[in-house]
Chain length 197, copies 2
């Protein structure tokens, strides 16, 4: 079974529909998904940005919110803009890194659904603990997320993404080195993984 | 018959597949297309850019060229990268502005096909004169393009685009104020124009 790597930051708006749709769309093509949490902060810093480009460039930001709203309506996904934007995603990124396989995917979907479906803030240990509880995931994931090992693993995921050419999220990479960027490339990336990787 | 406005700069890479596909896709939906040449230079300057973002941000630029190559292959469109990039598009933009209706669309398609399909430079009067000749368009369009009236009309198109929220190209706007950005939104924009504008 061929696989597609899914690179995302919990603060990334278009990663929300990708996270909520990728497993279903991948299963239909018999492609497996490797969920790879990263942080866009250091990657944006490479490009000279100290904030989300959607905040730095207001015309682009205004467009993105309307586009995301239309897109969620088309996908039948609830949408509520979190405040502030972007959300601090380090804690959620570390907890996702501490989890593996389907447990990680379940955690990630629930965080994204809370953040962009219900407008919740995702940076508190209380919110994360609630997600772990609701999803029947080990409560000690929150403690493990603070370990040096997990912190280093998340940092090294960022380096790995950067080396693959990732400059934004969501991004998707195939085993044979193709990179796809954006929710609107998800179906194409999955087709590519199925047919040519 | 409902219409969709198509905002483009001849220097814009993703405007190439949009220009070569929009009329066919629009006809299939009984939507008419209004071709609106603009210049991205002043719009990018609003965002602090004095060059194409694909040159300013190399990771994004590298991705774009590969993505465009894949996309043209999928659309059965020839692709050859013009050098230098971006091309100077003021002359072609003025000539397009001097033309109207189907003559304008025919001119634009031929310029884009030469530039990104054959890797030609589009900034010389000789190239433009060749396109006008090949497309059976009035040779004096080149002279008319240099008139104060045409220059002012192109500038005012840029202001109009900016007022509609356009920050990049290709962009598409509907009569009821929806803005769509990027070739990957073209089908959605046409559907919107058909169903909801």
């Amino acid at each position: 079974m061929t696989s597609l790597s899914f690179w995302f930051d919990f603060a990334s708006t278009y990663s929300y529909p990708a996270a909520l749709r990728i497993d279903e769309w991948a299963a239909a093509r018999r492609v497996s998904v490797v969920w790879r949490p990263i942080l866009l902060g250091p990657i944006f810093a490479d490009q000279g940005w100290r904030n989300s480009p959607f905040n730095i460039y207001p015309a682009k930001g205004k467009y993105m919110w309307r586009d995301l709203e239309r897109l969620c309506a088309a996908e039948n996904l609830p949408f509520l803009r979190p405040d502030p934007f972007p959300q601090h995603s380090v804690l959620a990124g570390r907890v996702a890194t501490a989890l593996e396989g389907e447990a990680r995917a379940r955690f990630c979907r629930a965080v994204f659904a809370g953040e962009f479906g219900c407008g919740r803030s995702i940076d508190s240990p209380e919110f994360i603990a609630g997600v772990l509880r609701d999803q029947d995931l080990p409560a000690d994931s929150l403690q493990r997320a603070g370990s040096d090992e997990v912190k280093a693993a998340l940092k090294s995921s960022v380096d790995e993404a950067r080396a693959l050419g990732v400059f934004g999220a969501p991004s998707f990479t195939t085993a044979n080195g193709e990179l796809f960027w954006g929710f609107d490339r998800l179906a194409t990336a999955l087709d590519w993984a199925r047919d040519r990787a």
